[in-house]
Symmetry: C2
Subunit: 234 residues, 2 copies
């Protein structure tokens, strides 16, 4: 018997572009106020026409993810930190339970990926982790720290050499859209960096116990963050 017959929902090309850009903003890969490539270049990269790309930009602008300015030095700019944090909080408080489930999924797949990565990570992934660590140390604001964390976690996921797990982690990070940390204390930041460093070292040394220990700390911090937000929103 055929199961779950529901109308198909073909995604228009402009919708795919919206999703891709939105996901990168959610996961922090695109920084606040960052300028996107010119329309002609972006549409080229995406393999879609400029008209279609512009539809996508219009949607993102409407949803306050970007703003578009004309003229030389114009272009599409990611919204600023406060606006994005506001969007993130709104998204979470609209459906707090859903965000908890995303964290659940992220923790499950991220932890599994890290365990596999302890055996399978290659030099390329370790290098990406070190680069992310360097970014994290040099970062002087919350967005750059978030970006570096995302890059680190994606590198760990890639280390598992399992495309489905990588996609799962990527999806979860894109779905989450946590607001930027407020009032970052120097000590807390240093502690976070230390945990990622510990995870890198454990993966480098193929020390499974330490990998799990570091992941437990990261997962606990993640749960703490999401709980803090859902509480303050209530």
């Amino acid at each position: 018997m055929l199961w779950g017959l529901r109308p198909l929902e073909p995604k228009a090309a402009y919708g795919l572009a919206v999703d891709l850009l939105q996901r990168q903003i959610h996961s922090g890969l695109l920084l606040p106020q960052e300028r996107l490539p010119a329309e002609r270049q972006l549409s080229d990269k995406f393999g879609i026409s400029r008209v279609t790309l512009r539809e996508a930009l219009r949607v993102l602008e409407t949803n306050q993810y970007i703003s578009v300015r004309r003229g030389a030095q114009g272009g599409a700019f990611v919204s600023d930190q406060d606006r994005l944090s506001q969007l993130a909080r709104r998204r979470i408080s609209r459906a707090p339970a859903a965000s908890m489930r995303v964290v659940e999924y992220l923790v499950v797949n991220q932890t599994a990926a890290a365990r596999f990565a302890a055996r399978r990570r290659g030099p390329a992934e370790l290098k990406k982790m070190r680069e992310a660590l360097a970014l994290m140390r040099n970062a002087d604001d919350a967005p750059r720290r978030k970006q570096a964390e995302t890059l680190f976690l994606l590198a760990v996921a890639d280390g598992a050499q399992n495309a489905l797990l990588s996609r799962g982690v990527e999806d979860a990070l894109a779905e989450l859209f946590l607001p930027f940390e407020t009032a970052p204390e120097a000590q807390s930041v240093a502690e976070t960096v230390a945990v990622y460093q510990r995870l890198h070292d454990a993966l480098d040394a193929e020390n499974l116990d330490d990998v799990e220990g570091a992941m437990d700390v990261l997962n606990a911090r993640l749960w703490g963050a999401i709980r803090r937000i859902t509480r303050s929103a209530a």
Copy 2:
């Protein structure tokens, strides 16, 4: 910075229909030789035109997933058991490593889902599991047993009340496409049913230890199955 800029790949409507039907054949929900609904009805359910649906059927026919017959009592019929098993083996032996990774992903998410389900499963999911068990007991051939197993596992995944985990399990089951068991011994079949029964009982009783025990057995059987296939293919 923008990361991973690649050409977008808009999926045409007919492609979505192909995927949906192919996935249900892979996971065993659609039985061999089963007749699909008439084109006019199917296109209606999918919310696409009949012409577009027919494109999808043509693709599936080309790939030997179905065959189409004309006339009264005609229609699109899922290929027979041997043909499907052949397709499945071919798919696995083309990329054995990929199939192992799918199993990995399935085990990770299925196990996590079962753990959550131990606390969250509702009466609806328990009922679906019992119905699947009944199907499994009454099944007198491999396809029906596979169908019942899939239905049971999907019910467990739903019990976790986490849409992302459910989707992960569903994706993995659809991606796997295991051939039907050959030479089924009555004892082995009875043992399998017993394990699913044990999993149901454990979920019903919220007995987490027993849930994990049953899942371990199921996961081990899954690993055994995929290893047996990849070996015989080599």
